[in-house]
Every structure is written in C-alpha cells, then in structure tokens.
Amino acid sequence: MLQNKGRPNRLGVAGWLGGGSWGVERYLYTLHRVTGLGLLAYFLMHIGVTTSRAFGPETWERAMGAVSGPLFKVGEYLVFLAFAFHAVNGVRLALVELGIGIGKPIEPVYPYRTSVDVQRPLAIGVMILAAVIAALGGVQFLESFR
C-alpha cells in the first residue's frame, strides 16, 4: 500500500485498489461498489430480455433459449452472489450511516475500544448472512445443471 506522506495524491485509478491503510470495512465498501456496477449492467440487459414476455410465448421462449446456456447459468449465479452481498452490506452501510452499531464516543484513555472493535462483529455477521443467502440460492442453481 502507498502511504500519503504529505505528497500530492497521484495514485489515480490505482488508488481505487488501495490508497492507504485500509481496513476490512473499506474493502467491503469497494466490493459494494463493484457489485453495484455489476448488478446495474445486468439489470439494464434484464429489462430488455424480460420485455419479450409482452409479445407472447414464442418470443419469450426464444429469449429464454438465448440465455439458458451453462455459461449464462453461471453468470446468473454470480449475479445472485452480487445481490446477496450488496443487499446485506447495504443494510450494514445504512445502519452505520445512522450511527447504529458503531458505539458511542468515549474519552481516548488507553486501553480503549475504537469504533472498529464495535462495528467489526457487525461486518462479520453481515458476511455470514450473505454466505447463507448465497448457499440457499446455490441449491437451485446446482439442481438446474442436473
């Protein structure tokens, strides 16, 4: 990681990958943005594909046939994973923004608990929940390959 020691920020786009002493929560935020962009790209295509249902069964079956290959099924599961993470992490971000789950400010007398000590269990719990949701969705995806 590059540390900013008073010099101008010249990291550019590379700064998106790691601009300093990033904690787990910062990487979760970055992954939140990456999954958000992936979901947006999929959603824009999804609107187009699902519009075919308005034209009747033949058009619908043709559209579904075009997106039913094994590669599409794997891609669809990746979208589900992105949804699972983005949703639960979004709830965590909303809670933290409202000041819930980050502890109260205290006088910094050593040894002291920081907000990271308080919000880290929230982040871990959120990731476990995302993994559970991903596993639930994985059951149907695995069955679709039989």
């Binding site: 962009l37 947006l40 249902r53 308005a54 619908w60 589900f80 949703a87 709830v91 909303a94």
Partner: protein
C-alpha cells in the same frame, strides 16, 4: 440540500429494493427450497408461471415500483462514482442529463412491458 435529498432517496430506494428484489430472488432462485411460488416440478421462467404472475395486479404494481427504485438507485450510484473522478461542470451536467434520460426511457419501456403483459395474460 438537493444532494442530501437525492442521497436520502438513494438509501430509501435501497430498502424498498431489499424487500421487492428479495421477493423476486426468492421466487426465481430459492423456490427449489421454498416450493410455494411456482407450480410443482416447473421453473419460474416457464411460460405458465410467467402468465400466472403477469395477470396478478400485485406483481404488475410491484414490478413497476421495483423497476423505478432500482433504476434510480443504480443510476444515481453510477453518477456518484463517476462524479468522484472530478469531471468539469459541463461534463457533470451532461452525465446527469444522460443518466436521467436513460433512466426515464428504461422506466417507460419496463412499465409498458408490465402493463402489456398484464393485459395479454388476462386474455389467456
């Protein structure tokens, strides 16, 4: 003030999406475990199940609400990411207009599809 209002809408839309997209994901991808939303032995994308949902006013309304909320949430999020690259004022204005036009256009297309499917399903 405007940005604060838009951000509040962004978070609020996310919470609405959590409920409606959660339901959509349960119907489409978790029903093998739940077994309540689709005909036994069928897939969610089978035409019969699509017609069943399309003729329901509940699904038509929730699809349109989900469409609007998701388009706003996603495109506003994209706008925020792009604005962090610090473009000039003219480019910022152009991006805002472009994303608004794309969002409104796709909302119109999706709403028409939901309404047309509702009408078609009712005749089947």
């Amino acid at each position: 003030m405007r940005d604060q209002r838009l951000w509040t809408w962004h978070v609020g839309a996310g919470l609405v999406i959590l409920v409606f997209l959660g339901l959509h994901m349960a119907i489409m991808h978790v029903d093998a475990i739940l077994g309540v939303f689709n005909r036994p032995g069928s897939e969610a994308i089978d035409w019969a199940n699509v017609v069943t949902r399309a003729r329901s006013a509940f699904f038509m309304v929730t699809y349109v609400v989900l469409l609007g909320m998701a388009l706003f949430h996603g495109l506003y999020g994209l706008r925020n990411i792009l604005f962090e690259l610090n473009p000039g004022d003219g480019l910022k204005k152009g991006l805002s207009v472009l994303l608004t036009v794309v969002g409104v256009g796709l909302f119109g297309l999706g709403t028409w599809a939901a309404w047309a499917s509702f009408g078609l399903a009712r005749t089947l």
